[in-house]
Symmetry: C2
Subunit: 223 residues, 2 copies
């Protein structure tokens, strides 16, 4: 029933204790392409910070450039003050299926997840800030940077950008059917399988303030 | 572009600093029903723990009974040893739409999220453990507890269950069209709107070891 179930492949991208997958190692290759694939397919990450010794986990957008992942937010957001130079954990999860087993115990999920550990660095270089925001916007809404009005200096000043190196990370993937016990397989009579889970886009909803009949541009319509 | 954007409603379910939403308060009612709704609609949470002063954020299943949320895992999973009696943060996020604005700056997401803070309590009472596992399985796969083989004593012994009280939590919701600046509205020429994001189920994939023609039961087929 858990994400710490069987039939999983894992990728540890560094050898520190916290990024080394300790459960059910079936594949221990350090495949950076797996990490990129999981990150690049996502829309939201969950960013972990520590405040007064307790964890805080917040959803936010993100973007990747090479071996750096970026997050941003308003300079007025309290949580960002926690991030500067602090240890963070950035996790991206794709739920791909619900695994129905013959036993409750072997119920599970098919998924892909990436967990990145590191120290957040506040980005101050103007070019890197621009590129990072471009990457974050393009991750969420490809084509928007070109279509929409670019940030002006006031908007840039109101935006804090943080970088996290992809130096310490792990990837976990579970695919395939349930892993039932032999006795449950032999007993029969119970359904087992996978219910796929998809993230899909609906029909675009134009802003009510658009002119009548305004065409939806390809970067939205064809998504 | 961030989850700390405009047009958001917020619900703070307690008055501690960390659960009080400090940005863009538009609604500060303490509506527990909102919290239940966000939690009950989810399949995966992101659980934050602190290890050696650094945050760790892991995806996992969960279930709710009244004002308690439960998670579980293998007793062999290292991260669970961190949770016992420790501060945790449990976050559930639903991405509902991508908000395309006339400016890059006002790009955003429509979403619902719940952030629960508290101290994890390892559940040792046999009845509470059973009920918690039932809730976790039914959250992920309604009907499975009745259809599948129940856990046996050995499986129960291999499973650790943790409880987190819903005493300190906040809910954030963003809905609706983009919030563009007047100048961008007046300038025209750029599309704006919302691309809805849905989580959907595909056609069930029967386990290859099922007998030919085994019927998919209603609790899966009708989902």
């Amino acid at each position: 029933m858990t994400l710490s179930s069987t039939a999983r492949s894992t990728t540890a991208l560094s050898s520190t204790a916290r990024s080394t997958v300790t459960r059910l190692r079936e594949r221990a290759s350090s495949d950076r392409a797996d990490l990129y694939a999981v990150l690049d397919a996502g829309l939201v990450c969950h960013l972990g910070l520590v405040r007064d010794g307790a964890p805080v986990v917040l959803p936010t957008g993100y973007g990747r450039i090479d071996d750096t992942v970026y997050v941003h937010g308003s300079t007025g957001a309290g949580y960002l003050r926690l991030a500067d130079g602090a240890p963070v954990c950035l996790t991206v999860t794709h739920l791909d299926g619900i695994v129905y087993a013959r036993s409750v115990f072997h119920h599970s999920m098919n998924y892909r997840s990436a967990v990145v550990h590191g120290t957040a660095r506040r980005v101050t270089d103007a070019d890197e800030r621009w590129d990072a925001l471009h990457a974050i916007v393009e991750q969420l809404s490809p084509g928007s940077w070109e279509h929409a009005r670019e940030p002006d200096p006031k908007e840039m000043a109101a935006t804090a950008v943080f970088a996290l190196d992809l130096a310490e990370a792990s990837v976990k993937v579970r695919t395939g059917p349930p892993s039932d016990d032999d006795e449950d397989l032999a007993a029969g009579g119970r359904w087992a399988g996978v219910l796929p889970v998809h993230t899909t886009f609906g029909a675009p909803l134009p802003c009510p303030e658009l002119p009548e009949g305004a065409a939806t541009p390809p970067h939205v319509a064809e998504r």
